[in-house]
Symmetry: C2
Subunit: 215 residues, 2 copies
């Protein structure tokens, strides 16, 4: 487990939503703007392409000291010695992922219900991705919207750090932090932005400001 990771602005990549720009370009802009952690998500790439992209992002992120998280694929994370993985409820069970990655890698887990979050109390995950806060075109396989109320509820009992995900952008990031999130995860708010660097910067400013005034 790592307790020092900064979850403020958590970029999740998406090739399809990047409007023709490369993942490298989006990620470079995002970290220049202030993204604090980056998750590479590749739903259709071959394993070889996934590894090659991960290797490039690792090089891009290194000077910024921003961790690279791999979505789902523990093999890709091991291949490039990434900082960690993010797993969903349909991915590798947490205990196996921890065994394969060892105690020092970051493992984040998606929770999509109060029950998922309660189950996660038994796990030494590094953070929970709480979703969906709002509905979003990025994920089409989610049944229920947890909303800010769900996030607030999970915050009330969970021992884990929480990242809010699902439909978040500059207009609603503040309320997610106020409802208990340690950071906001965004896909299109950065990947599809006219200016991804400015979008990341604006999000970083909002999150920092709200955290300063919170008790």
């Amino acid at each position: 487990m790592k307790s020092d990771i900064k979850l403020d602005v958590y970029l999740v990549t998406d090739r399809e939503l990047s409007r023709g720009r490369s993942i490298d370009e989006i990620v470079t802009a995002a970290v220049k703007g202030g993204a604090t952690i980056v998750q590479l998500r590749e739903k259709f790439a071959s394993t070889r392409d996934f590894i090659q992209t991960a290797e490039r992002l690792k090089m891009i992120l290194k000077p910024y000291n921003v961790p690279l998280i791999i979505n789902d694929r523990v093999d890709v994370a091991l291949a490039v010695d990434a900082d960690g993985v993010h797993i969903g409820q349909d991915d590798m069970p947490y205990d196996i992922a921890r065994r394969l990655l060892g105690p020092h890698k970051i493992i984040g887990l998606s929770v999509e219900s109060i029950r998922d979050a309660r189950d996660a109390e038994a796990l030494d995950v590094d953070y929970l991705g709480v979703s969906p806060i709002y509905f979003t075109p990025t994920k089409t396989d989610l049944k229920r919207q947890l909303g800010l109320a769900g996030l607030h509820k999970i915050r009330s009992f969970s021992r884990h750090r929480l990242v809010a995900i699902g439909g978040l952008n500059v207009s609603n990031a503040a309320e997610a932090i106020q409802s208990g999130a340690d950071g906001v995860a965004v896909v299109s708010a950065i990947c599809s932005a006219d200016n991804p660097q400015a979008a990341a910067s604006e999000l970083a400013t909002i999150v920092k400001k709200i955290k300063q005034v919170m008790p």
Copy 2:
């Protein structure tokens, strides 16, 4: 590397071609019939489902002492402690797979050209999957047909054991072995057979018979 694996009848699973029967059912029938090695290939399953299927197959195969090979996914192989992986040219590079799996696991590599096979001379793979011998509806991403001539050519210089794959069945298995293959890999010839056990048995008999009369 493992030199004692029996490649005679190499089943590659395919959910879509199994005519509504479960993978467990097909694999059980195949090993009862005489399949000597089984590769679990799952192109659309979630990581969790892939792992669960692999765990079930491992239990099915154990009493037959038939190795379980995982297609592409080194993470799944590590998760269930499978006997090895089969990687293609778009999958994890061999050197990384070997580093992650260690020296004792089976690693098979697909070669789709004479050049691929020449490149593989430098690698300590356990076998090469030589494809396609014939065209087949199972793989739609192959450009050229290597044919029996290509197989024969690769046999003339390769230090590796060879498994022929692509359009093989009881009617042409003999010529693949005669052209230098150590075994035949089949998908639909077993998965789609009316009687998968009988199909595996017939293939095993053919391969054994040809090997006996070969110099």
